[in-house]
Symmetry: C5
């Protein structure tokens, strides 16, 4: 059985971890081929080391980390630092970590829209994590097709023959 | 017994380390389940390696590092470098380091407001460090609730059912 | 026999991996001196660790990674993070990884132009990867000549004697 | 006996290394409890690896590195890269490196002012390095007091009781 | 005998590697106390790992890496990534790598001026590399004197006594 880790924050204004867990808990093979472990940290700057810990100590095969940067410039800079840490944690563990960030600024102050982006992006990346473990060839089948999370797919460019 | 490290700077204009120590010293289990060790460095660019040292040589289970960037653009860039170092130190030690920065610019030149932000942010992150060691499930209970340090909680988005 | 790895994304709107594979599959020594292995990840932030994995676990001698950042500022910042990860993966593996990014903004909204840039850049870098493995002296023969991928060569400056 | 390393550049327009050495040579215990070793590199992007070398091969317990970025935007970006390297060198060696940069832009084109900033900042950080080795508790005694190098101390905020 | 590595790119519009090699080949002790090894990569993002390889596998004691960023903002960002990689490669190998970049924007579109900057900067840094290996004390003798490559020396500030 493989472990999928989920790490989210108290800072986010939507329970992003719950969305990932609900999405994956609906998989019929949950508890047989994979199971879930969840951790919460104060803010997104602690996501990287917590993901690293889930991989190194708990044996997770992949981790989904979830953050919601606030609207200020300093929030974006901190998110950049957090993402560089998540990148480094991937290389240090030789394991995929999917960083799923929903920026408050994406929703233009509309809370329901912000929640909708969260639901879409978190759920789709939860399924991506599953596919990366159990059906990697399904990702190649969708290569270059403008697949999006948190928005409608952009679609592949129809190249004139 | 676990050690909680506290590192602050001479550069800051508020004794941020004292706030963390006072907050945690008030815990009844201090000296039994945990104790505190404090170090001070000149400026925030030495926080990362000092935290790393407290973890690797002193055995700290978590470290709270405290900095106060000045208002100039170069101060912000240096703070960004310091934060990337703190991120790297977390991964190098596989240990959480809470970076608690209060930017002079946050207070708009109002010293009392700057001190108030320091008190709130340092005290709340001190408690976060404690909870991360001794009550990690309490963080998950607060996941996605817009918890803030140095400001009132933003609160969870009330998602329409 | 040497392995050339190819990693692309579902996010891109052109099947960049296919271009690399078609280009290299046309080499007469494919299957004898080298062969190809392809992986697809959701977005470009997972390129670095996948390339690292192809090198460390699959034995790739070089990897071509392919991404297409969207037009927003946050897309560019994420691409920057992805590229820093790819840089770090090169050093961690002591192996060349060619990062081939085509930015949507390069084409000014013209999809056919975007696809044309992809074809040119991906094909040329595929050949670069081959030459780096099997004909490194051919690169030195072209040193300082303003060679470009995704555009016409800029050419060497004709230095007045 | 402990070694304090000093690394400066040919690029700087003030002999910053000499200031550090003069300041520390005046200590009565020089040659007994500590001694100095100096290296010079072309520009600040070689400070990090030279400091690392002084620590790993020469046994330095701390290193002071000195740079003077020019006034152009590219100079500032290079300085940022240099500082990230110095940060990484600290973590790689688990040793403090004090990065002492004086930016030409700080002096607004006034050379005498630039030299004065250098004298103040280099001398104070030289003493900080000494104190970090031999009197670390003296830094904690000055925590949160707005201590500056290259300028007058900003001072602690007088918090209303 | 020590090896000096030289790595340049096909992207640059001037044969920067040739300038370094001509400069050092003129040294009378070439072939006795040192010799040169040259590699070429497609663009500057592969300089770092190639330099690392020359150090780790070929035994180079120092490497000069040469790049010419184009005039677009994305070129500058890529150069920044390349330079961070070169910085990391220095620390990973504990060896100096001199990064010699000539930005097209420095010459304001004047090709002859661009070539002249290349000649001056590449030749001077070639000599720096030599001096770092064989006459390090000569660098300290020039510390703080505003030494430049690719421009006239800025000179030391004449500090009023």
């Amino acid at each position: 059985m493989k472990w999928i880790g989920v790490v989210d924050t108290m800072f986010a204004r939507v329970d992003m971890g719950a969305i990932v867990i609900e999405t994956l808990a609906a998989k019929p093979d949950r508890g047989r081929t994979f199971d879930l472990v969840r951790r919460t940290v104060p803010g997104f700057k602690n996501l990287a080391v917590e993901a690293q810990h889930l991989i190194q100590s708990h044996g997770c095969a992949i981790v989904v980390v979830l953050g919601m940067p606030g609207p200020e410039a300093i929030d974006e800079l901190c998110a950049h630092e957090a993402c560089l840490g998540i990148m480094a944690a991937q290389l240090a563990t030789a394991t995929h970590i999917l960083d799923v960030f929903v920026h408050e600024a994406e929703a233009g102050g509309d809370d329901q829209r912000l929640a909708a982006i969260c639901r879409d992006r978190c759920a789709k990346h939860a399924l991506n994590a599953y596919d990366m473990l159990f059906a990697p060839e399904s990702l190649t089948a969708r290569a270059g097709q403008g697949i999006r999370q948190g928005a409608e797919d952009a679609g592949a460019i129809d190249v004139a023959a």
